[in-house]
Symmetry: C2
Subunit: 199 residues, 2 copies
């Protein structure tokens, strides 16, 4: 890779990372291109060079990165070494800790944008839907690997993901880790009962 | 009441109702005062007459109305005539139906604004937190009335509310009633087991 293209890749990566963080904190309409340009320290021309379709394209790219990162963390939590119930509770505890560290500014990397844009941008809605589906599939696979029957694992995975998403919302709004911790504890028991009964 | 003040009250109510609907669909940053003025057919001066502090004040007022309406519907669902598990499933089914009727544009009246504004507006964050707390208390009271011990009822109420909020998000993003229906079914069973075991 030439020096220029490596520098270009670095600039692009920086813009994407900053956009992902701003989207998580302020949402789609609350994140301005001027803010992205300022915080990433790159000229406007550079933004349009890397993302000729502008903000919507930069947003779907940033969501892709956030979504994959969240999936990687989830995959790591859902290791086969511990029970799926424990894994889900641990994931909630980790999310609670991260949220407190960000002073309740960073919760789900997708939810704000997903709610705002699902009425106005089909590419953004689709990007969010794809990632939520991926996270849900990861939970479902973990349950099936523990012997839960496919259809039941599907329905429980939707419920687990929904609970975590709702807990992220409530923790953010209440400026408290309690909802994530409480939901984590309850969902652990709920999943444990299910796995025990199917074993 | 004089004719003028009754007309004024009507104008005010129309502005609040339109704002509530726009906030639900497009969020705080996606809802412009010009759109509210246009859709309510009232002059700009009228908006500032009723809401001298502008958009933030109009928003907290609209959230208050939406929050109370949602609480009233929840209170109606959680009638003592049926089990809390059945009531929660019915509430999810009703939400799914309403969402489909709005072409997946209207989900939780607070969630979008709550996520967007919790980093930027303390009055809006507080308004949302108050309503989420009220809904959660309604669920907790219902569980306690069925014999579930206070602390457990609290934790389960947080989990039920989180699941419903998450299901509203997933249904909206997937343009499908399935997440709400699936979560409703699972949460019914989860609550039933709990009530049975505490009885």
């Amino acid at each position: 890779m030439s020096k220029l293209s490596s520098k270009g890749a670095e600039t692009r990566a920086r813009m994407v990372a900053i956009t992902a963080r701003l989207l998580q904190r302020y949402g789609y309409n609350g994140t301005g291109l001027s803010q992205i340009i300022k915080e990433s320290g790159t000229p406007k021309g550079s933004l349009y060079f890397h993302f000729p379709q502008g903000k919507e394209q930069l947003t779907t790219t940033a969501l892709l990165e956030s979504g994959q990162q969240f999936a990687a963390e989830l995959r790591e939590s859902l290791t086969p070494d511990i029970s799926p119930g424990d894994a889900i509770e641990l994931a909630c505890t980790a999310l609670a800790q991260r949220m407190a560290e960000s002073n309740y500014q960073e919760g789900c990397p997708l939810a704000t944008v997903a709610l705002e844009a699902s009425s106005t941008s089909e590419p953004i809605r689709l990007a969010c839907a794809t990632h939520f589906q991926e996270w849900q599939d990861l939970i479902q696979e973990t349950l099936q690997a523990k012997g839960v029957e496919r259809e039941e694992a599907h329905e429980v995975a939707v419920t687990v993901l929904a609970s975590i998403e709702g807990a992220l919302l409530l923790s953010r709004v209440h400026l408290s880790t309690a909802p994530l911790e409480q939901v984590g504890r309850r969902i652990r028991r709920f999943v444990e009962q299910l796995v025990d009964q199917d074993r």
